[in-house]
């Protein structure tokens, strides 16, 4: 059979049911082979959209997301989703066509060295040089993408090689990768030391991140945290790993986290970091970050440990393995919960003094925070929410209380505007029985607006709740606060008539401008049997608070 036919056999063997992509010259053989393949192809309208859809698919389901694209511009359009998947550790495989082998290096039509271009932003990449390698590379790609710390893998296939005839034999056993041995089990001695340190801590904070969700360890995390009255905070990527609201829940930490979470980090004597990476949005000014704390750092990626903040007790391992052991060792010590009494008193005091709050309007104006609260009520807190990047993303993180993992999909590390709509499409394909809502910003939505057509064509009933403030809101906020209100290029000006635009794509378009009608409008949108855009006009110049100004310490939170 042709190598391209074998490609789909290999994808079937990996359990792939859906791929997202766009055809072009260099991947014509692959698209021809698609006729006989048993998987479903979702035809996107831009490769970036296909890539983010695959990410949404992976984040919602935990399965590997797959994208197909052609050479040259098709491949370069994938650079943003690849970089995004790298930053947020999303298991993804990107399969690109390449020009014929005799054209490589000649600046042929639609030639781009995509392996070279993506080198800094892939977990691994492989260029097929012999058609007989192809299926082995595919299996290796899936193995690398999904194991250890997940990430994007690129497989680049020259057009002539995907057309070549090969003898396909199904792979037996895992691929041979002598240089790839992701750690799994944590060192039990280190785990015991960690348990003992924790039992002796009077002001502990458990700080969890997206690694818990990637490891499928949210239940283990909750059991560990609730084995004692341990205060819990999560990063933006970790939301849902611990059920919010909960009496031990401090809220999200970091730049737009709660004062309680950030102050607790500031005063903690021991911080247990699970599957997070001390990003600058968490630490603020590094030299003043958690100055009183010792650190236990649990991560599957050894390079994350002591990268930004030196760990006193490093534990390299999968959270799914480490957390139950840590829990067992900790319980065996029968720690005295009353030692935390004073600490909880302090925390309750912060929670009482500094709750998340906003000044609601006294008329029909819709405050953006109110919109998120209305969304929480309309979806009964039980939807997959995707978001773009900016103020609306932070408000969603603050006011939508995620109770389960894989319900909050957003671009955290790379901060990719335009992520929300395509990732919602991918999430809905992966989880057709769940309500999927994209909370979009008007600045972001237009960046991948073409994907309206993808949802319409494939009848993917996602809902887009557009938080329309007519601005690049977060940039506007920074110009207001840190650049002397010298506003530059942040007004959206000539925005489209959003409901009309949605209708032009075959969606249902709705609009809401009055607070009193918002919940019903949302419920009506959710009840429609098809994709819906709900354009919600919110306060134009609301700021997202509280915040740690960039480069400052948790103590310096404003708002």
């Amino acid at each position: 059979m042709r190598a391209a036919d074998a490609l789909f056999q290999a994808l079937a063997a990996e359990g792939v049911e859906h791929v997202f992509g766009i055809p072009g010259g260099a991947n014509l053989p692959i698209y021809d082979a698609l006729h006989d393949a048993e998987l479903v192809h979702i035809q996107a309208r831009h490769e970036q959209g296909a890539g983010h859809a695959a990410e949404g698919y992976a984040k919602a389901s935990g399965r590997v997301g797959v994208t197909l694209a052609t050479s040259g511009p098709g491949a370069t359009n994938l650079v943003t989703p690849i970089a995004d998947a790298m930053m947020d550790s999303v298991p993804t495989v990107f399969i690109t066509g390449q020009v014929r082998t005799d054209l490589i290096g000649t600046d042929g039509f639609q030639e781009a060295d995509i392996s070279g271009i993506t080198l800094p932003v892939v977990k691994h990449s492989m260029m097929v040089t012999d058609p007989r390698q192809l299926t082995n590379y595919i299996h290796a790609a899936f193995h690398i993408a999904a194991t250890g710390r997940p990430g994007p893998v690129l497989v680049d296939i020259p057009q002539d090689l995907s057309r070549a005839e090969i003898d396909y034999t199904p792979a037996e056993g895992p691929p041979s990768l002598p240089g790839y041995k992701p750690p799994t089990e944590g060192n039990i001695k280190q785990i015991r030391i960690a348990a003992k340190a924790l039992a002796n801590s009077k002001r502990p904070v458990i700080y969890g991140g997206g690694g818990i969700i990637n490891a499928g360890a949210a239940d283990d995390f909750r059991e560990f945290c609730t084995s004692d009255r341990l205060p819990v905070t999560l990063t933006l990527m970790g939301l849902g790993a611990f059920p919010a609201p909960h009496e031990q829940w401090l809220g999200m930490l970091g730049m737009h986290g709660t004062r309680t979470a950030n102050y607790a980090m500031d005063e903690a004597d021991l911080i247990v970091c699970v599957g997070a990476r001390f990003d600058d949005r968490i630490t603020g000014k590094l030299s003043e970050f958690a100055p009183r704390a010792k650190f236990i750092h649990i991560d599957v990626d050894p390079a994350e440990i002591s990268k930004n903040v030196p760990a006193h007790i490093p534990i390299v391992g999968d959270a799914k393995d480490v957390l139950p052991k840590l829990n067992r060792e900790y319980r065996a010590l029968k720690p005295d919960s009353s030692r935390l009494e004073e600490w909880w008193g302090r925390i309750r005091n912060w929670q009482g003094t500094y709750p998340l709050r906003y000044e609601d309007s006294s008329d029909s104006e819709i405050k953006p925070q109110f919109m998120v609260e209305a969304m929480y009520e309309a979806t009964e807190g039980d939807a997959i929410i995707t978001s773009d990047v900016g103020q609306h993303q932070m408000w969603a993180a603050q006011y939508y209380h995620f109770a389960k993992p894989r319900r909050w999909l957003n671009s955290g590390g790379l901060g990719t505007m335009g992520f929300g709509l395509p990732s919602a499409i991918g999430a809905k394909v992966a989880c057709p029985d769940q309500t999927v809502v994209c909370l979009a910003g008007d600045g972001s939505l237009i960046m991948n607006v073409q994907e309206f057509a993808t949802a319409a064509q494939h009848e993917i009933p996602v809902k887009v709740f557009l938080m329309n403030n007519g601005h690049f809101g977060m940039v506007r906020q920074w110009q207001e606060l840190f650049w002397d209100e010298r506003y530059q290029s942040v007004e959206m000006g000539a925005s489209p008539d959003w409901p009309k635009l949605a209708e032009a794509f075959g969606w249902t378009g709705m609009q809401c401008t009055r607070k009193g009608e918002l919940r019903d409008a949302m419920k009506a949108a959710l009840a429609v049997d098809g994709p819906v855009l709900l354009d919600v006009h919110v306060t134009k110049a609301e700021n997202c608070y509280p915040m740690i100004p960039a480069g400052q310490a948790a103590r310096d939170m404003v708002g």
Binding site: S115, G116, L119, P120, K123, H124, M127, T129, I144, L177, P178, G179, Y180, I188, K189, Q190, R192, I193, K196, A197, A199, N200, S201, D269, L270, K294, D301, P302, A303, I305, S306, K307, P310, A311, H312, I313, E329, A332, L333
Partner: protein
């Protein structure tokens, strides 16, 4: 401290972090898959993480499927632990050894082309002899000298020869191999 079931306490004030900067030169010996693009991955990793390579030598090993990359870096500037952990993330890197200074044999080769007038020629050749260097090319005005040895030896030879007028110098970068253990 890490034994099960004991009630001994880990006091938080006793916990310390290990030092990240060692303050000395490190020689990393990498066994990598012999495939196109591997060197680019390593070089790219160093540049994007801001690590500075002092020397780099690449060549085949006893196994045609693998290559050896020997690189030296300054442990006073770079956290070597972080460098090796990042290198380990590259799928094509099979093995990394941070070579122990006491139990490692290191060699570098260098070629020097030096001004050699009738008056200075004899002195230069004398230096070469002291350093067990070889004269590999001669012209009316210059000598080309091959020196092999540790980095320090080559540095020292360079210092000796420089006043005579160093026209050109080429160095390979160090390669290293661990010393065999004493047999009993």
């Amino acid at each position: 401290m890490g034994e099960p079931g004991t009630q001994d306490i880990v006091r938080l004030e006793d916990l310390e972090v290990s030092r990240t900067l060692t303050g000395r030169k490190h020689i990393l010996s990498l066994l990598v898959e012999n495939r196109p693009g591997v060197l680019a991955r390593i070089a790219g990793l160093f540049s994007r993480r801001g690590f500075n390579i002092d020397t780099l030598a690449v060549g085949p090993t006893e196994d045609p499927d693998t290559s050896r990359i020997t690189l030296t870096l300054d442990g006073a500037v770079h956290p070597i632990d972080q460098v090796t952990k990042q290198l380990h993330k590259l799928v094509n890197v099979i093995k990394i050894r941070d070579m122990e200074p006491g139990s490692t044999t290191t060699r570098e080769m260098a070629l020097f082309r030096v001004n050699a007038t009738v008056e200075s020629r004899a002195e230069i050749m004398q230096f070469a002899e002291i350093y067990q260097a070889k004269i590999v090319d001669v012209s009316r005005r210059s000598l080309t000298i091959e020196v092999t040895g540790t980095q320090d030896k080559i540095d020292s030879f360079e210092a000796m020869i420089r006043p005579h007028g160093l026209i050109e110098m080429a160095r390979t970068g160090e390669v290293a191999i661990s010393k065999s253990r004493a047999e009993h």
